[in-house]
Amino acid sequence: MNTRITALREESFATQPSISIERAVLETEFYKENSGKYSLPVLRALCFKHLCLKKSLHIGDGELIVGERGPAPKVVPTFPELTCHSAEDLHILNTRAMTSYRVAEEDIQRYQEEVIPYWQGRSMRDRIFSEIPDDWRIAYEAGLFTEFMEQRAPGHTALDGTIYTMGMVDFKKRIADRLARLDYQNDPEASDKAEQLQAMDISCDAAIIFAERHAELAQTMAATEENPARRAELRHIAEICRQVPAHTPRTFHEALQMYWFVHLGIITELNGWDAMTPGHLDQHLRPFYEKDLAAGRLDREKAKELLSCLWIKVNNHTAPPKVGVTAKESGTYNDFTQINLGGLNGAGGDASNEVSFLCLEVSDELHLLQPQPSVHISNKTPERFLKAATRVIRKGYGYPSVFNTDAVIMEQVRVGKTVEDAREGGTSGCIETGAFGKEAYILTGYLNVPKILEITLNNGHDQLTGKRVSIETGDPTTFTSFDELYAAFTRQLEYVVNLKIRVNNYIERMYAKYSPAPFLSVVIHDCIEKGKDYYDGGPRYNTNYIQCCGIGTVTDSLSAIKTHVYDTGSISMERLLAGLKNNFADEEPLRLKLWNKTPFYGNDDDRADDIMKSVYSSLYDAIDGKPNTKGTVYHLNMLSTTCHVYFGKMLGASANGRFAHLPESDGTSPSHGADRNGPTAVIKSLSKMDQLKSGGTLLNQRFLPSVLATEQDLDKLGGLIRTYFTLGGHHIQFNVIDTKTLRSAQQHPDEYRNLLVRVAGYSDYFVDLDKEHQEEIISRTEQELT
């Protein structure tokens, strides 16, 4: 890391996130003046152009890649047209202990006077909530599911390589050509398409204007810059901003700036989930890197410096804070920009290249919160690349996460994408599969699967509040078999999923009609050709995902009921339900019996894993193939992000011996502490899930740094990963554990049963060691991490 990068990184680290009301004020001004004068797509495009024309710019000291969404690094705008923060929200954000955002008091006042009154009743969130049915609201408030689109626009989009071969001028030509071919005679949607295409054209202009303004600013700054080296850099920046995004990038530097302008445009236009992702950045940059290297314009270090500049830019872009009740809870500053490295190219060849290694090195050196790199391992991926990735994993940042390219491709081919598009696809957000640059794959919300079992056990009532939240499927004490209970569970599941989908489809149409995203539509195939918006079925592929949480918790709970209530009869349903209701108060033997004497998921034990397979199948049947509003269908996804914590809070005691309000299992991982036979058994259990029928699964594994101490240990980790992928696994990531967690493991050993530590010449479970040796390992770990 050179001094430039050190300084930029330090600034990015040290700056406290804050909120700027500039965007909200500009937008409100614009809407007051223009709302009703244009079609919605054109209005949105003109609003985007207004922002690009008026928003304040920032070119920081030493920066080589330029442009900020807010007026300065770590300053986040708001999006009142989607969700309008109340003054109370802003106060809470300013003062809460975790993940706070500074907001100036006078800004809150101005927000209250100028912004809030206009958007009240007009924001997407207000409009959505004014229309939703009561049964949905009741289920939502009970924590049966979440709804993504009430906070941010549908999103988490990734790009393919198109923007490196087409500038905005080229896109404008493509739009003009499509406009010329509209058939007003025979196509009843032709005038709608014309509006949409005009809007796309305006948004291309907006992006060019935005870059031009940066060029002018750089030029002006150069005029007064005293340091000749910086003066030359500023002039070079001006030149680059005149080239991209209007025209195709010619150099490595221009390619990075091209991406960054497009990224900024998309996250300025709207606040889509998970910001924006460049997709296979290493593949896109490779030709520029090789050409510049050959021409002597670039060397390895300079390339790393430029990549570092982009990494820091991404890190500067803190996720916009949520509104409403959730503002009281801690969130994350991470906006989940995931950069895919390795994998295959469209023709099916290994795509890892020197830029892949550069990106890994940059991630390692900077170790920022974001972007988070992921490595994509196919059968063709060389061992050298996997080894380089495991070296970074060992550092304990929790990344890179590791994906199975071959599975990611098959998941997509299963749902009808071409194999080439599937190979150019990958994963974004956490683990979500999509065809980069060609698909709107929308996360619609998380589903609290253990809660569905809970309402089954309470005949449609919430165990925590006693309130009726769903249909009645029978008093479980009258069930005579496990099958009868399971049938009730699937009926509840079907009801909840249908409720969610019904409202979701309504919300989607709201976005299609009232909140189009013309700029995003420009860069996603085939919006231009179809003359349709990204939110209205414009992309080549359109997928809706429902993310199912807590498969570990629900499997283990069902396994406990099957084992103790139905198979052995040693616990009556009445006693179990009473224990659950009382959160096992004075029932520790009952709780321990459930916790210690039940076959659990994650141990390569078919008794539990077969139940997991049934639940997975039921989720698939309830979700996969249900129609969405774009003529295509819903698929299931198996990630939880951090929602397993919220869902856990909303869940009473569960039959696996888990106390009320504790987190559920995360992703497709086993329940915390339930897997007691090491990582190979976990992987075997996971491999029994037919993962190719989902849009992604998530497996977290915890290791101590000392388990990954030697080169041979890294090879064995590589072997573990390759084996999981041979068995059809989608994703795995490693938490190389820190002291804080070890302390927590000392206090709550039950939750950390699976924590492997290297003791001496062998590995053992941390919680099985006595205090002294735990202490010894804690001190050793700290040494290893410094």
Binding site: P589, G678, T680, K716, R722, T723, L756, Y762, S763, D768
Partner: protein, 303 residues
């Protein structure tokens, strides 16, 4: 015909330090040696017993109610067991919700063991790993060991045996036919000191190692390095010289002593004879490795 059963005290998966690549290690119970520093004391006794961990006990007394032999009763420390009445029927182990009754081992048929081992075949195949039979002393249960190795051989699973080599030579040679790699612990070259610290002399061990060399069966030698016991230059040099003469030995693994087993002794109610031992310093370790490298190029720290 009665199926052969082996007495086991642990099965560890993703074992990283018991032979090449990803392995599953089966620990056979019972050992003719009693090394003062032994870190697997539950593996010494050939007999299974049930220990009661009263810090886990939640006082439900279900074990007392279900014990058909009236071997359990409440005491001021929790539950106490009358070993004269206990038949090891396991009913307390099965009943206790808190896992407070723990057997120190259990018996498994060869088929059951093979079933467990086979679960991890994809990992062996991918990484080049396999099964490791450790202990205790696996050679002390030769029939079960042989049957298990033959079973693994039939399944094409790589087999490592981790042993002290303290067994009749004929037994060792019979086992060797089905073993791909031996890990042989060599504790001391001086037979008097060997006896003092392990309870047995080393001549049989050294003889057996030579026999393995004669038949050319691959092995690695492991030295548990305990300061003050076997880390002196004379012993290290003698070990190196001896090992270098055994052409089947691919390398030496120096295993630094670590006082990690005290908790296990406490749990088992056994007295730890190694309280005075300390872990070797980094200096001692590097000196030892350097010395050994005079005799053999492949010398590693750790397994």
């Amino acid at each position: 015909m009665d199926e052969i059963k082996s007495t086991i005290f642990a099965i560890k998966r993703y074992a990283l330090h018991d032979g090449p690549n990803i392995r599953t290690t089966i620990f056979f119970k019972g050992c003719p040696l009693s090394c003062n520093w032994c870190h697997n004391p539950e593996g010494i006794d050939f007999n299974i017993s049930i220990i009661t961990l009263n810090d886990r006990c939640v006082g439900c007394a279900e074990c007392i109610a279900t014990c058909a032999h009236k071997a359990l009763q409440r005491s001021n420390t929790g539950i106490s067991r009358d070993d004269r009445l206990c038949t090891l029927c396991q009913s307390c182990v099965e009943t206790c919700p808190a896992l407070a009754h723990e057997p120190t081992g259990w018996q498994m048929t060869t088929q059951q063991l093979l079933h467990e081992i086979q679960k991890d075949v994809p990992f062996y195949d991918q990484s080049g790993g396999g099964v490791t039979i450790s202990g205790g002393e696996p050679l002390s249960q030769p029939e079960g060991l042989l049957a298990l190795l033959q079973g693994c051989a039939a399944l094409g699973i790589h087999r490592t045996v981790d042993s002290s080599a303290f067994a009749p030579t004929a037994t060792l040679l019979r086992i060797a036919r089905y073993t791909d790699l031996f890990l042989i612990d060599l504790k001391h070259m001086n037979t008097r000191l060997h006896r003092q610290y392990t309870g047995v002399a080393n001549d049989l061990i050294l003889h057996n190692l030579q026999k393995l060399a004669e038949i050319g069966r691959p092995a690695r030698v492991r030295i548990p390095l305990i300061p003050g016991v076997n880390d002196d230059e004379i012993n290290i040099r003698e070990t190196g010289a001896f090992v270098a003469r055994c052409k089947n030995v691919q390398g030496i693994d120096v295993l630094p002593y670590h006082p990690s087993a005290t908790a296990k002794y406490k749990k088992l109610g056994l007295k730890y004879k190694g309280m005075q031992f300390t872990a070797p310093t980094q200096d001692t370790l590097s000196t030892t490795v350097d010395l050994l490298k005079n005799y053999l190029s492949d010398v590693r720290i750790g397994g």
